[in-house]
Homo-oligomer: 429 residues x 2
């Protein structure tokens, strides 16, 4: 097509891909609602200054940033947390605490293209604001686990790697690092897993530390460490502790975490992190220049790595296919076997749609076998055939090939009856 | 908050506003599915060249356009039709015709701020590609009407103003206008309603025409005109012709329409058009430099004017409020009256959520009356009170104030029973 292509790192969602995306959204939305979270959304453009204030000047390298015709410096949002902090600080007096809020929408990062990374992707953001208790951290870890379980992922499929930033604060205490060094140190730990040991060790030695001491410290931290006690007790009560592994190597790259941090990883396929989050008690205060102090914790889950994991996991893939079939299939295809009845065909189509059924039909005259083909293409469950016997209509179950004669006026009702009949129940699965 | 504001013309959706937005999306999605359309989505950035090729160079004045770090000239999409044409042309061989596709997502226009206009807004786009018959136009007009009806809008609330571009082709035939003049002429007709008569007349005279002749032509076009015959017959069969008014003054500003054109307007409040669309048989061919020819028609409906109309129409507003309450309310608030039972409280919360109920509870110890207050804030239908009698739980209907004692293990089941009891049915409304 004359050279017009999708912009690099952006996606076209043809109907099947859109159905997959919508199935992910539906499950995210459902699990968040079940956990008592309410949905919000922000704009997809924010002032670049807000994003810089949150993440530092280097963030601009990853931004789709530009100057508007009205001379505003803006960026397509790379994440939603700055927006959330802005919104919560602006209207926090209007809502009882804690805020349990979630959001589903696109984010944009100008990143090098690689597996699991796109420049436009969707995120599920879940946050609790105004509650400092580990009970809030536990509620979020639980929701992260239940989200993944809702995609038919099981204990053997993923793990939550959990840590607490304060462990490293404790470790650093004996080394007298300044703020910059402390930031460097956390970056070293964050990248340790993907970096050769000697490189890590050299960097640590520059800070007066060593890899050996870091390893010894990591080994000393077990699931019994008192810093995890309340979180553990809480998740055990929910029977979800089995999904958690204590891992002090998880620190999260971002500077603003202050306590609990966690990431979700698949177990079998070595994919990038599926989700990540933690506690960030100072961010709202920082972004509001101290005007509003609000403890907070949250996590984000993207659609790209999750989508890869679903495709790689048979049970998850099967459930997703059922969701997709469900969302693209029509219930009834109305076939017109006698063109002189087109008016009655349109009436029947309209009636069935008003009764809530998804209905399609051939817009123009077509041979009956072509119409049956179209019914199959649209994955219709039933065909309603309008012909010379009208107002008697033939209703045919396209899965079982059973058919019955029904008065046109009773068609919607008859379909409802057939759909709820146990024989046909698999159609609704 | 330290001067960080929402970018001009963009919106924050706090939970109530997000619920309203989602209710609009849900009804759009539902009515499109019932009409046998499947959902697609494109990227929010497109190459600026694609948009210029569709709409001409002047479009850039309305674009959020910029150069990426990779030197791509891109724009945030001002509409979805160019994306649809690009996608359909690229993969049209993979889908049986006609394509009945819809899309719901944000669009961006750098426009002067005024009532009913924002710089980020949502659109519902519905198109049929690959079908030249007026039956496709009728299917779309019907869907536009049914969309508005699904918001509890009635015949007295809105009207579809319908015309056909070919009427004006016919009218122009005797004046020998060149292509530029012909475009100018359609612009004059398009703006006639909002322009003083003398101004219009002067412009028409420059083309060798007159306002008098235009008026005479408009008066000569009735609903009986043969150009509307098939569309009318089709919509009459659906009992929807009552929503349509023939109005040759509707031409749609955009150059690419080739046949049927229509716009939906409210009747009582003088708002901007709620929706607009028509037939554009040459666009896919034009954008693909002739590689793919595909007749097409479609319409778009925005969320902003529709939202205003809903707010101004009591029945629509009431239905919307019910939708919103439904989507932000929790089903069950679990109250903990005896803090030594927190473990059991978490178990109960987890059980009820697994059973599909929306459940909230106090993350931290709170006095019972505070917890009842929180239950009300979350619009909970039931309170489940866990105290010293555990495993006996008190289940309280917060609307009727009825209460009953239930074994913890049967709680999910009991709630299902209570919800389906006719006495409680209003809760599900």
């Amino acid at each position: 097509m004359s050279g017009f292509k999708t912009v690099k790192g952006f996606r076209d969602f043809f109907p099947e891909e859109c159905a997959l995306r919508n199935s992910i959204f539906k499950r995210w939305r459902s699990v968040a609602s079940r956990h008592g979270f309410v949905e919000y959304e922000g704009p997809s453009l924010e002032s670049t200054d807000l994003l810089k204030k949150k993440s530092g000047d280097e963030i601009t390298q990853q931004l789709f940033c530009f100057t508007t015709k009205g001379d505003e410096e803006v960026s397509m949002r790379p994440e939603v947390t700055p927006t959330l902090a802005r919104m919560a600080a602006a209207r926090q007096r209007d809502f009882p605490k804690p805020l349990k809020w979630f959001q589903i929408g696109p984010c944009y990062r100008y990143e090098r293209q690689q597996r699991g990374r796109l420049r436009e992707f969707y995120q599920f953001n879940v946050d609790i604001l105004g509650e400092a208790s580990p009970a809030a951290d536990a509620e979020l870890v639980a929701l992260a686990i239940e989200s993944l379980r809702s995609f038919a992922l099981e204990p053997g499929d993923f793990i939550i790697r959990l840590s607490d930033r304060r462990l490293w604060t404790e470790f650093q205490a004996s080394y007298q690092l300044n703020e910059t060094q402390s930031g460097e140190f956390l970056q070293i730990i964050d990248k340790m897993e993907r970096t050769p040991a000697e490189v890590t060790n050299t960097k640590l030695e520059a800070l007066g530390m060593s890899l050996e001491k870091v390893h010894a410290f990591i080994s000393s931290i077990s699931a019994d460490h008192p810093i995890f006690a309340e979180l553990r007790e809480n998740l055990e009560a929910r029977d979800l502790w089995q999904y958690v592994k204590i891992d002090p190597g998880i620190v999260r790259g971002l500077a603003y975490y202050t306590g609990t941090v966690f990431e979700a990883f698949d177990i079998k396929h070595g994919l990038r992190a599926i989700a990540g989050g933690g506690r960030y008690d100072n961010l709202v205060g920082h972004l509001s220049d101290g005007a509003v102090q609000m403890p907070a914790c949250g996590f984000a889950m993207g659609d790209v790595v999750l989508g890869e994991l679903i495709k790689a996991t048979p049970a998850a893939q099967e459930q997703m296919k059922r969701d997709m079939d469900q969302s693209v299939a029509v219930d009834v295809y109305v076939l017109l076997a006698d063109e002189s009845r087109r008016r009655e065909c349109l009436q029947t189509v309209t009636q069935l749609r008003s009764a809530g059924w998804r209905v399609d039909y051939s817009l123009t005259p077509q041979k009956v076998n072509k119409q049956f083909q179209a019914a199959e293409n649209s994955k219709a469950r039933f065909a309603a055939i309008i012909g010379g016997e009208y107002p008697t209509v033939v209703l045919k179950n396209l899965a079982t090939r059973d058919q019955m004669e029904v008065p046109a006026a009773n068609l919607a009702e008859k379909i409802a009856e057939q759909m709820s009949n146990p024989v046909y129940k698999h159609l609704l699965a």
